[in-house]
Symmetry: C2
Subunit: 348 residues, 2 copies
DNA sequence: CCTCGGAGCTGAAACGAGTCAATCGGGAGG
DNA sequence: CCTCCCGATTGACTCGTTTCAGCTCCGAGG
């Protein structure tokens, strides 16, 4: 091991110091408090850094003291545009705070989510935003208890944690009310699994709207997941019903389901909204570009992400007097062709 | 500062050792080579870890020796489903190798991309996959030269780097050939900016197909970006042309543009494919669910990601004898209603 | 001539975990 | 009773960086 360079691997500050003919401390000063170092020395050190290709070792730096200046958002499913929009809001806030943001895709896999949480905690990230797979509360609670700030995004949380959600009961109510006002009486809710809190909330909201109208009924068509493929399968099931018993409108738990359902309807020769009106949820970009532009319940996605990140930062920065908040935003209904009122239709 | 616990912050192995009445080395052995530790001691240490809520400090661990067991994929735009599909392939390969994957969204922002690359290098990740914003080659070359394995995804790279791409010239040729075979002669290419290599490749491919057919012509309608909004604007421009001069078919550089274009056509009362046939590119999930199911050039997205990750791992594992590879996949045309032959049209 | 002060720089002590040669204890063998 | 051996455990050292008390000059003030 000859002096001046390590035999292998990346050069360290020590190598830089040796080669520039200064002490370790001076190299550190050049990097962290350049005003303390004289111009010629600073120049020499910087040149040496350039020549050697020295790159700070973040592990050592973090070990010694500084935080990680890193946030992570554990996303439920990056293939879902809803979450990427939320992520954009998060990124915006992280940028503003000068923090880097890592996206972790749990892909609805509890084991992978757990793996990410372990790793992030071991890496001592400044904070974690998460849309959890299931209510693996214990895991998240443990993380928070040990000192990592956590904000739950798009899922409810108890009073001992920050969360940012959209009022799903209200959203369900809005959707169902709209269908009832366009004279539908047999309405199907398409979505699942019921273990997802939002799904049940939207059912609840739709249920309360339907309960206000005598003679109206809501049937639930449970799906195994909230994606396009499941929407298609739901479409098959609906199309298989005799027309007299078939619902005249479907309220889907998200736009992916709605798009799949819509697609299957078209495929099977049923018309939307004539044979089946459809309301989606999330109002993703593609909802408007669909075969029949989709009526959908819109959520303030970027705002959701931005707010969540701000809460996280507030918690991370002022750890002492932090008050956990559960922020709830209100969704809005966006009406498009998939529920257009048919003049010919008469209530059953 | 009472013994057994640090005054603040997370407990360390030393705290565990003290409280369990063993030495530091034993705690380390319990965690890393449990077979060396007697049953009762191991149990006692594990209990103490549980009680204290000890969590390994990954920084210290990495500093001492072990790698980071982490990969990162710097994505151009997580809002584009194409990339999330690629990311899924990457995740798959990372999982198989027991590595964690962080997604970094550059959002087409060169500064953010640079920030991520800096951070990742400082964190000594095992390797970086990247779909770069522009040809910021110097930055990436520097990263690679200093020892971080890099694989470029969905963009070409020189011989001194691994890359995984899809043959865009071929894709352009496939698309244009299909339009020519369905008797179109005035074809528009919609896409841009031209600085993007893939855009020019697809133009080249389309151009060579058109050149093979006497009397056929290709006009290029350049856009500022590859998203839905730009597609709509292109639609306005096309619709504004007198019907006699208007192209009868459009080949879009990606599906987002195509969906926007399609949407604008429908809005302006033009029919697809009657007034304008449309071919997209990428065959994202929503292409099939569009107003008129979209003919599109399909790329093996997950395979792309998986292969890229495997190349990266090969480079990271066997650093000595690594041969850089430039893998090129072939795209496939998926024909749907947006280019259906008018004569073959089935009555509704 | 001595002292003081400050700019510039130094060097050692952390930070937390992994490693490994050295040590301890106790049972078997002589 | 003494050795030897072996499994279990120890603790000093290391990784790369930050920090900080302290050192050395050197010029100004007394």
């Amino acid at each position: 091991m000859r002096p001046g360079t390590s035999p292998r691997g990346t050069p360290s500050m020590k190598d830089v110091a040796l080669r520039a003919g200064v002490s370790l401390g001076t190299v550190s000063n050049v990097l962290n408090r350049p005003e303390l170092v004289s111009e010629p020395t600073r120049r020499r050190v910087l040149d040496t850094i350039e020549v050697l290709g020295f790159v700070r070792n973040e592990s050592a730096r973090q070990l010694r003291g500084g935080g990680s200046r890193t946030l992570a958002y554990v996303v439920l499913d990056t293939s879902n545009p809803f979450f990427t929009d939320v992520a954009r809001g998060v990124q915006e806030a992280a940028d503003a705070a000068g923090l880097a943001l890592f996206l972790c895709n749990s892909g609805e896999d509890a084991a992978r989510q757990a793996g990410f949480l372990d790793l992030l905690e071991q890496q001592r990230v400044e904070g974690v935003l998460i849309t959890p797979v299931d209510a693996d509360e214990p895991r998240i609670a443990a993380l928070a208890r040990r000192g990592t700030p956590v904000v739950v995004v798009d899922r409810g949380a108890g009073p001992d944690r920050c969360s940012v959600t959209v009022d799903d009961v209200l959203g369900g109510d809005l959707a169902a009310t709209h269908l009832l006002e366009t004279s539908h009486r047999r309405i199907a809710f398409v979505g699942g699994p019921r273990a997802i809190g939002q799904v049940t909330d939207r059912i609840t909201g739709a249920g309360q709207a339907v309960a206000r109208v005598p003679g109206a009924e809501l049937t639930v068509l449970e799906t195994a997941a909230l994606n396009v493929a499941e929407g298609r399968r739901a479409g098959e099931r609906l199309a298989g019903l005799p027309a007299a018993r078939r619902p005249t409108a479907a309220f889907c738990a998200n736009d992916l389901l709605a798009l799949g359902l819509l697609q299957q309807m078209v495929r099977l020769g049923l018309r939307v909204p004539d044979d089946l009106a459809i309301v989606g949820y999330d109002d993703i970009e593609f909802a408007e570009a669909a075969a029949v532009p989709l009526t959908s319940v819109s959520q303030p996605r970027q705002l959701l992400g931005r707010t969540a990140a701000q809460l996280l930062l507030a918690e991370a920065r002022g750890p002492g007097d932090h008050e956990h908040q559960q922020v709830v935003f209100a969704p809005e209904l966006v009406v498009r062709a998939s529920t257009r009122l048919l003049s010919a239709r008469t209530p059953t």
